[in-house]
């Protein structure tokens, strides 16, 4: 589905809860996410890359849904209309020396 990104959001209306931390790891606030959407970040992937929300130590395991909800609300779509960020290995933070040590490696 193609999406024309030409969109006038009107002026930014600050909200009382703009200061609320949404991504706990990277301490990204709701207001920052709302502004990023208005800056053209139209999905969670772009918002994530722009603000780092979901890119901290937990890799979005806590905030993925929350970020998606804020982005969806700002865009005026249901959250289910937006894909969640993809998963990346490793599933858990893991030391380099552990990865380096492949059992069975000659």
């Amino acid at each position: 589905m193609s999406v024309d990104r030409t969109r006038d959001f009107g002026g930014y209306v600050p909200a009382a809860d703009d200061e609320l931390v949404i991504c706990r790891c990277e301490e990204v606030t709701k207001g920052e996410i709302r502004r990023a959407v208005r800056d053209g970040m139209f999905n969670v992937h772009e918002v994530r890359r722009f603000l780092r929300c979901g890119m901290g130590l937990c890799q979005g395991q806590t905030c993925a849904r929350l970020v998606r909800a804020v982005v969806a609300r700002e865009l005026g779509v249901p959250p289910s209309a937006l894909a969640e960020a993809t998963g990346r290995a490793p599933a858990r933070p893991t030391e380099m020396y552990v990865f380096a040590n492949e059992e069975g490696l000659a």
Binding site: L20, R24, E84, G87, P90, R92, T94
Partner: protein, 526 residues
Amino acid sequence: MTRYDVIVVGAGPAGLSAAAEAAAAGARVAVFDENAKPGGQLFKQIHKFFGAKEHKAKIRGVNIGAELLAEAEGLGVTVFLNAPVMGLYKDREVLVRHADAVRRYKGDAVVVATGASENMLTFPGWTLPGVTGAGAAQTMMNINRVKPGHRVLMLGSGNVGLVVGFQLLQAGCELAAVVDAAPRVGGYGVHAAKLARTGVPFYLSHTVVRAEGTDRVTGVVVGQVDDTWNVIPGTEKRFDVDTICIAVGLSSSTQLLKMAGCALRDDGAGWLPVCADDGETSMARVYAAGDVSGIEEASSAMIEGRIAGAAAVRKLGFVTEEALAVRMAELESALESLRGGMFAPGRRGKIPDKTDEGLPISASLLSRGYLDDAEVDQYPGVKKTAGIRPVIECTQNIPCNPCRDACPKGCIKVEGGIVSLPVYDEKAGCAGCGLCVAACSGQSIFLVDDDTGGGAAEVTIPYEFLPLPGEGERGVALSRSGAALCPAEVVGVKQSPAYDKTALVTFRVPQEFAMKARFWRKEAVV
């Protein structure tokens, strides 16, 4: 590279079931789990499960976990613990951490049974120490055996919030309130009633306004919400708590499926893998089972695991198409019976006005967490007969029937599917053995004898707290809403292996309270 017929990721209810099913057909199966103990969340589930015998009903989750593990290991499944799977790659390869090394494995089929993690809710102060997931509290008290806090507010009235709320009481914590933004209790009425009768207040259509504290939670302010979920000014209430538990649903842990490239979608129930009926994802021979494929109960996860395991071994040629068809029919019927009733996943939280039997659904139960005294008599488990009898305060269609199987006299009937309301058949005659009281996973069966002489009645309740009262101990009887009714003397305390740690406490009250008194508390009311 080590090759297995079937690799299972996650040793929870779905994973262990999948592994057992596949191994029983002769497949070489490995299960990887990141935790030190297998069982997934089962070992935190110290309550008795719902369902029927085939779903391991009335057995506590913790014991089901042990049973499943024994079954899988008995069938030759290799369970690797402390073995987090780092990634799921091309050709069904997994990279697994073992201590300070990683190792690569391939499966001809892979079952991803990674479960779910808790959803969170944001409010000012939600990052303070003391705000935790309800599951975190459960882990602390039931696994680590450390009290999560002294006084707790539970945010969320779904089954997780209600069950964990009860477990907090069992661990000796105080539960200040159960709060939910929805206007109705989200979980089973019987779970809510267990809390309400101990005096826990329900604040529905309420949400957390803020958590207070600088370095840790010292209090919480809640307020009533309007139709647009905004707090109505002036409705704020403050509670002195050191812990706020969030129980607002779960999200599937789809990380591995996402990184492998499985298709996902959201049809309103969350971002979930697209699966065939047998759990196969968009990637050939990669299955998803249990909560990772859609949030349900552990009971259904176990069946989904078996379905995925059965489908996988069929694909790998371990069983015939005919054998698979027979097995699938069994499993699908077991799953279907669990998915019935008014809380069925297909209903998406829409609560009907009437039960399947045409009886009204108690509005009081939904809005306050307890049945109104005047409503009780209309349900088929409640009949006024002379002498001792069960009073079955089971008023919602939920998939459960251990009460029927428990009664040696056959005086409890659950007919026409396990979601039907239990019927007390007074003709069969109650012997007062109390097995039904202990068997009821919802703790909604009481024994009542309206006339034990001298204007007194006796009420027997299920009791899962410490310390147990002693015979002759005086206290107060509490109503369904937890209000003090009258002095009450304990006249009997029964424990039995058949009750599985649920004690039966019998107390004596004046006759007029026989159908009102539903809990007993030691301390006198001021």
